[in-house]
């Protein structure tokens, strides 16, 4: 049930999708894995929108070279606390009504179930495919929605994965990009992170269309957006079983 204060706070979005949808946001538990360039805007906009519980996961502390894009942090935060702890402090200033759970640790096969078992949706804000594949496997196994984005330079891609209905990350990108220090600017992570938050809000409220089975790419340098329909790989070693199960 929404309080009088909450109804006033979220008035402008309740005008669009109604009280019931706002209550769904309040009840939702969403994990943001990675609190860097993508994780910063995702967490800020989900906090502002009134997501009930955020699970923030990252093992790193902010460094000077992060500050061109990781807008949750400032100069006073460098090399002090882990990102989830700092993020919680900032997000609580924005909205004291939401619950924030912090996990200042890296996700491994051994701890992923403990960290993510109770969430309703997982947002991939990682900077490496090794952990992305792990997240994908877990989400497919547990049938949890996974909102993927990845960026480099002025370019980014986003898709929403619903296990059993859409291609998984392994169907789409079975070969990871080369590991390297990648160029990036804050406007790219800002835009793609906001789009990920938008996907979470639409997914939970049921309002609007999601990027399920669609790979959306943005080239901010040349103002080009592309959207292609993508299909599951029938022999995907990660998710093909979920489709067989649906057909039975």
């Amino acid at each position: 049930m929404l309080s009088e204060k909450e109804l006033r706070r979220y008035d402008r979005q309740v005008m669009m999708f109604g009280k019931e949808a706002q209550e769904k946001l309040k009840k939702a538990k969403v994990a943001i894995v990675g609190l860097g360039g993508l994780g910063s805007p995702i967490s800020i906009y989900l906090t502002a929108a009134g997501i009930g519980q955020l699970f923030l996961i990252d093992e790193q502390k902010p460094e000077l070279s992060n500050l061109n894009r990781q807008i949750l942090y400032g100069e006073e935060d460098l090399d002090k606390k882990a990102k989830p702890v700092l993020a919680k402090e900032k997000l609580r200033q924005l909205n004291s009504e939401i619950k924030v759970r912090t996990y200042s640790k890296r996700i491994y096969r051994e701890n992923i179930e403990d960290l993510l078992n109770e969430v309703d949706a997982v947002v991939d804000a990682l900077d490496n495919f090794e952990t992305r594949y792990l997240l994908n496997e877990f989400c497919v196994k547990k049938r949890k929605p996974l909102i993927h984005a990845a960026v480099e330079g002025f370019y980014g891609q986003i898709t929403t994965i619903l296990p059993g209905r859409t291609p998984c990350l392994n169907c789409l990108f079975p070969n990871p990009p080369k590991k390297k220090k990648f160029p990036i600017i804050g406007v790219t992570t800002g835009l793609l992170g906001v789009l990920q938050a938008n996907e979470v809000i639409k997914l939970i409220t049921g309002y609007g269309d999601n990027l399920m089975g669609k790979l959306f790419t943005y080239d901010l340098l040349h103002n080009k957006a592309e959207c292609i329909d993508v299909k599951p790989n029938p022999s995907c070693p990660v998710c093909s079983g979920t489709f067989r199960l649906r057909r039975q």
Partner: protein, 82 residues
């Protein structure tokens, strides 16, 4: 047969075009198409085919995939940052 190529992001910059059309023999594969792309757009040599993501009609494809007339191969840069 005729094959269309669609370049995304910096692949578009390197090739200088959004799209291209190739004429290939009937039994051509993705590998053959990529060799022709590199011949026509030498600046892409460093990237093709191993350092890009390729899709035909929404399906991820590998070098040995057989092509059909009028297929459109979309070439995406592999990105992993966050």
């Amino acid at each position: 047969m005729k094959i269309k190529i669609k370049f995304v992001s910096f692949l578009r910059e390197l090739s200088g075009v959004d799209k291209a059309e190739l004429c290939l023999p009937q039994d051509a594969t993705i590998k053959d198409a990529m060799e022709k792309v590199v011949y026509d757009f030498p600046k892409l040599k460093k990237w093709l085919p191993q350092h890009i993501w390729m899709f035909i009609n929404g399906n991820y494809v590998k070098s040995q995939t057989q092509l059909k007339d009028n297929d459109e191969i979309a070439l995406f840069p592999p990105v992993g940052g966050g």
